[in-house]
């Protein structure tokens, strides 16, 4: 065998990465990390990946009974079940991706401490795992809304895709941010659990937007703030895509919904840029702090 030559290679400083650009070069490793995560999670579980149907199903039934039937939201909102589930699906994607990404660096501490890898791979793998769990829920949603008489147009379908894009960008950006901070302070993961819990209630998942608009009619800027929440934008876009085309179309859509969709995307991209910045600032200390 010929001897290896590195004479022509420029020396580099170890441990200095190109952040997200390095991830593109490590797609195979990313794929294996996602596979590992899924394998390990469902190891020795009888239902396996079916759990990703069971959990949202139970959650849906509970919400539907409590809010739809007992609080009679059913009566005010056409096809409330579809309305409810399209929001729940979005929030679940956000919660799982964000929560797991936050824990991903500490959870892979054994690796982070011993081998140099682009560490952004771990939160990104969490996002992909969450997406794998999101797909069956999306399928159930599509079947449900078809039963309710779904007739979407192209713009509405594009709105759904935009919503998924917003949620993934936001969850990944926040996951980078809190995943890095969690290495220094384990309080971060508890704080994140709190955010995820609140997220379900701070966006129009269980109720409709007009109730918020009415309640805030004296302080319109607060309602604008409410709409600027990327999750609110994504949930409304999902309603527009999966619920609205199954109804008679008599419900009013939130004002400037599409504009707020793009605003939500812009906010998410800003958060991603900030998360990446903080992650890079802190990653040099990961190995010694873990």
């Amino acid at each position: 065998m010929a001897t290896v030559g590195s004479a022509g290679i420029e020396p580099t400083e170890p441990g200095i990465g190109h952040g997200l650009l390095d991830v593109a070069k490590n797609r195979f490793l990313l794929h294996l990390l996602v596979k590992k995560e899924l394998r390990v999670r469902y190891q020795a579980s009888m239902l396996g990946i079916l759990w990703s149907y069971v959990k949202p199903a139970v959650q849906f039934v509970v919400f539907y009974l409590a809010l739809g039937v007992f609080l009679e939201l059913n009566k005010g909102t056409e096809d409330y079940a579809v309305y409810l589930f399209s929001g729940v699906v979005v929030i679940n994607l956000f919660g799982e991706a964000f929560g797991n990404a936050t824990r991903s660096i500490v959870g892979n501490g054994a690796l982070v401490r011993k081998i140099y890898l682009p560490r952004q791979l771990f939160p990104l793998a969490s996002l992909q795992v969450a997406f794998v769990h999101f797909l069956p829920q999306l399928l159930v949603l599509v079947v449900g809304t078809l039963v309710a008489g779904w007739r979407p147009n192209l713009a509405q379908l594009a709105g759904g895709i935009l919503a998924i894009f917003i949620v993934c960008t936001l969850a990944f950006g926040l996951g980078l941010l809190f995943g890095a901070v969690n290495v220094m302070f384990r309080d971060a993961e508890n704080f994140v659990d709190l955010i995820i819990m609140v997220a379900t209630w701070l966006s129009p998942v269980l109720y409709t937007w007009d109730r918020v608009a009415n309640a805030l009619s004296d302080v319109p800027w607060l309602f604008t703030l409410y709409q600027l929440n990327p999750l609110t934008a994504a949930v409304e876009l999902f309603h527009w895509c999966f619920w609205y085309p199954a109804t008679s179309g008599s419900s009013a859509l939130p004002p400037n919904m599409i504009a707020f969709g793009f605003a939500g995307l812009a906010v998410s991209l800003l958060i991603l840029a900030f998360g990446d910045f903080v992650f890079r600032r802190l990653e040099g200390r990961f190995a010694q702090e873990l």
């Binding site: 010929a2 020396p11 990390l33 590992k36 394998r39 390990v40 081998i115 140099y116 302070f185 200390r285």
Partner: protein, 239 residues
């Protein structure tokens, strides 16, 4: 001659007390305890390693050997000085660091190969060799948690030695497996050397290290106290 690793005036400090929660931080702030009590794990370390050279890194426990390897591999960043490395590097800081007990041997070979920087095609090409080297063909589709610790280390080591980096960093992993397997590992190390790859080895098996490496560097409480023939380094340590 081309240098492979250039370490110039490197220092590394560690904080003595890590606080992992905001509460701890606030408490120590209130009690005015100095949170930033630091300790020098490495100080003014300068070493040049030429391409194709094999260097033994020796020293007592806690002298900073692993820390230096981590700085070279990029796992940690130096607080002072600079480090430059030419070519791809595989740091075997610990055998099996990337192994997961719930995955099969086969899955672990792929995962660990990728972690150590091999691409998909290379792992496929090398897979049979890796498994043959580890001699655990029969168990390759068994989950790693059912392996004996010897089998585990053999498979992990086999992945490592086939990653083909320009620079190898090896930390206390040469004492793997039984006598025949160790002989095989040594033979594989010689092959790696003959291919012109650079090796930095940490080991407490002084006799073996002397056989493999022509050069030895001795660390003592974070300082380089000897850099020369490996025989001399071993003597310095046995003093």
């Amino acid at each position: 001659m081309t240098s492979s690793i250039e370490i110039a005036g490197v220092g590394k400090d560690f904080r003595l007390n890590h606080s992992r929660s905001l509460k701890d931080m606030v408490v120590s702030k209130v009690r005015k305890k100095d949170r930033h009590e630091t300790f020098q794990a490495l100080d003014d370390v300068s070493v040049q390693v030429q391409q194709g050279e094999s260097v033994a890194l020796l020293g007592l426990n806690g002298s900073g050997k692993s820390t230096l390897l981590k700085l070279i591999s990029g796992v940690m960043r130096p607080d002072r000085g600079s480090i430059r490395v030419r070519g791809r590097l595989a740091g075997l800081i610990e055998v099996g660091a990337g192994f997961h007990p719930d995955l099969t041997g086969r899955e672990n070979v792929f995962l660990n190969g990728a972690i150590l920087g091999m691409d998909e095609a290379t792992i496929h090409r090398r897979f049979d060799e890796i498994v043959a080297f580890s001699e655990i063909e029969k168990f390759i589709d068994t989950e790693v948690k059912f392996y004996s610790s010897g089998m585990f280390l053999r498979l992990a080591f086999s992945v490592c030695v086939y990653t083909e980096p320009e620079v190898f960093l090896v930390d206390e992993i040469l004492a793997v497996g039984d006598e025949p397997f160790q002989q095989k590992c040594l033979a594989r190390i010689r092959e790696i050397q003959d291919e012109g790859r650079t090796l930095v080895i940490v080991s407490h098996d002084l006799d073996m290290v002397q056989k493999i490496c022509e050069r030895g560097v001795v660390l003592e409480r974070g300082h380089v106290v000897y850099d020369g023939e490996s025989a001399g380094a071993v003597q310095q340590l046995r003093r």
